[in-house]
């Protein structure tokens, strides 16, 4: 896709929004109780997918509520601020890992499904939605192309910090994004996220060839 987002501008907007944040919209009253009840009656727990997965957190509730209408600016601010507050940056200040492991994580679609083995690490399945390299033609297009990501964004800490935050909780920068909140929801570990960061930023990574 053509339009790349402006990470730095986005980050500033989020911080400004944080301060301006006024009252919150309750999540519980957003979805009709009849919908919750119907869902609870219609599923049975299977493997790691328990019935608890049917309950919504506040962000999911708000995004469902505004799924077919424009999200009011105030709610956008609320969602991004909530997302931003969850981001945990690497404790050792190091953003990078191993791009080859990152490539494997980006390829793997395993994880969190009722049919998946809980003992095995989850993947990020980035290729399901993003183009990342020219070698992998079997990529989806729900998200923008990340080919040449590091090359285009440059090697600096602001961009790395933004990208880490984006992978950790995509909602911090785009309210109601289709991208999962990999760090916040415990899909990927910090070590896996570092490997993915290298896939995006390492000059030797096929993403930047």
């Amino acid at each position: 896709m053509h339009s790349r987002r402006h990470p730095i501008r986005n980050a500033i907007l989020v911080i400004v929004g944080f301060v301006a944040l006024a009252g919150e919209v309750g999540a519980a009253d957003l979805v009709a109780p009849s919908v919750q009840k119907t869902l609870e009656a219609s599923f049975s727990a299977k493997g790691q997918a328990t019935l608890a997965r049917l309950a919504q957190d506040k962000t999911q509730g708000l995004c469902t509520h505004y799924a077919t209408s424009p999200i009011p600016a105030k709610v956008v601010t609320e969602i991004t601020a909530m997302g931003f507050a969850t981001i945990k940056y690497p404790a050792d200040g190091e953003y990078l890992g191993d791009w080859q492991r990152g490539e494997q994580i980006a390829q793997s679609g395993l994880g969190k499904q009722s049919s998946d083995d809980v003992e095995k690490p989850a993947g990020g399945n980035c290729y399901a939605c993003h183009e990342l390299t020219k070698a992998e033609i079997a990529h989806g297009n729900l998200g923008p192309s990340l080919y040449h990501y590091g090359k285009l964004h440059g090697d600096n800490d602001v961009v790395k910090k933004y990208t880490w935050g984006k992978i950790y909780n995509a909602e911090a920068f785009t309210a109601c994004s289709s991208m999962p909140r990999f760090g916040h929801k415990g899909i990927l570990t910090a070590a896996q996220m570092k490997d993915l960061m290298s896939l995006l930023f390492d000059p030797r990574s096929p993403v930047n060839q």
Partner: protein
């Protein structure tokens, strides 16, 4: 014969990886159309259809009764055209039912089967083609092939099922925050190389709904709409969708009604 076809199809699907990188869309369409060509108009689903016809007409179950008294919405025993007009409200059960839950109701009512027994093999598991339900669905669906979708909405129950289905379609939950809309509410989108129909538009809903149920080449099985929905819920990281549950029926009502006007082409042959 199906086994042989499946092996051929698998070979073609495996060769997929070796296909020269044309465009992604061509790479998707190619192996399946080769397979269809190889079958020369035959559909492996026919095996399920004839088994389903036998299951419909043979006396079975504790009551040793047939299903020919089963009302699929157009009157007792009328099979032709029934699937194109489902789901619908049945006053006798006081509920909106899709074909699959209706078949279970009839098997319980006329043949005396236990619900749990029937549901124990709701989906077949590979080469054994063990599900009677899938066979019955194949038979009933085929009797509507070529008919125009005309799902009624005359009762408040049907209207409620439609809006419930729509609400569930947009309901975001689970570890990955997905709803059906995440993958199915924009045109020309793909997950990997799999084309994602936009189920919120008449064109997208029609193309998808009228080609299900289907023979799934990659599994060598005939698969129903409830199987399709359950597998998308699995991808959504949600628990197991109960067969014939209110959510399954409501979603089917939403998709079927959005497909009204289109000609039913199921059972189709899918990846």
């Amino acid at each position: 014969m199906v086994y042989f076809s499946k092996r051929c199809a698998m070979a073609i699907l495996l060769a997929w990886g070796a296909v020269a990188p044309l465009s992604a869309a061509e790479a998707v369409a190619d192996p399946l159309s080769q397979y269809r060509e190889m079958l020369g108009g035959d559909n492996p689903a026919d095996l399920w259809v004839s088994r389903g016809e036998a299951l419909w007409t043979e006396p079975r179950g504790p009551r040793k009764a047939t299903l020919v008294q089963c009302d699929l919405g157009l009157g007792a025993g009328v099979v032709k055209g029934a699937y194109a007009r489902l789901p619908r409200y049945f006053s006798e059960t006081g509920a909106v039912e899709d074909l699959e839950s209706r078949l279970v109701s009839c098997m319980v009512q006329f043949q005396g089967f236990k619900r749990e027994e029937i549901l124990a093999s709701r989906f077949g598991d590979g080469e054994r083609h063990s599900s009677d339900l899938e066979a019955l669905v194949a038979y009933v669906v085929t009797a509507s092939k070529g008919e125009r979708m005309a799902v009624p909405q005359n009762t408040s129950q049907e209207k409620r099922a439609y809006s419930m289905g729509k609400a569930i379609f947009f309901y975001r939950a689970g570890t990955h925050d997905f709803s059906c809309a995440t993958c199915h509410s924009a045109d020309n989108k793909r997950i990997r190389l799999q084309a994602l129909p936009n189920l919120t538009t008449p064109t997208g809903a029609q193309a998808a709904y009228t080609t299900w149920p289907a023979y799934r080449v990659s599994q060598g099985e005939f698969r129903t709409m409830e199987w399709r929905l359950n597998d998308c819920f699995r991808q959504q990281r949600l628990p197991d969708l109960k067969y014939g549950s209110p959510a399954a029926i409501a979603l089917t009502e939403y998709l079927a009604r959005n497909a009204n006007g289109a000609v039913l082409a199921a059972p189709a042959i899918k990846r």
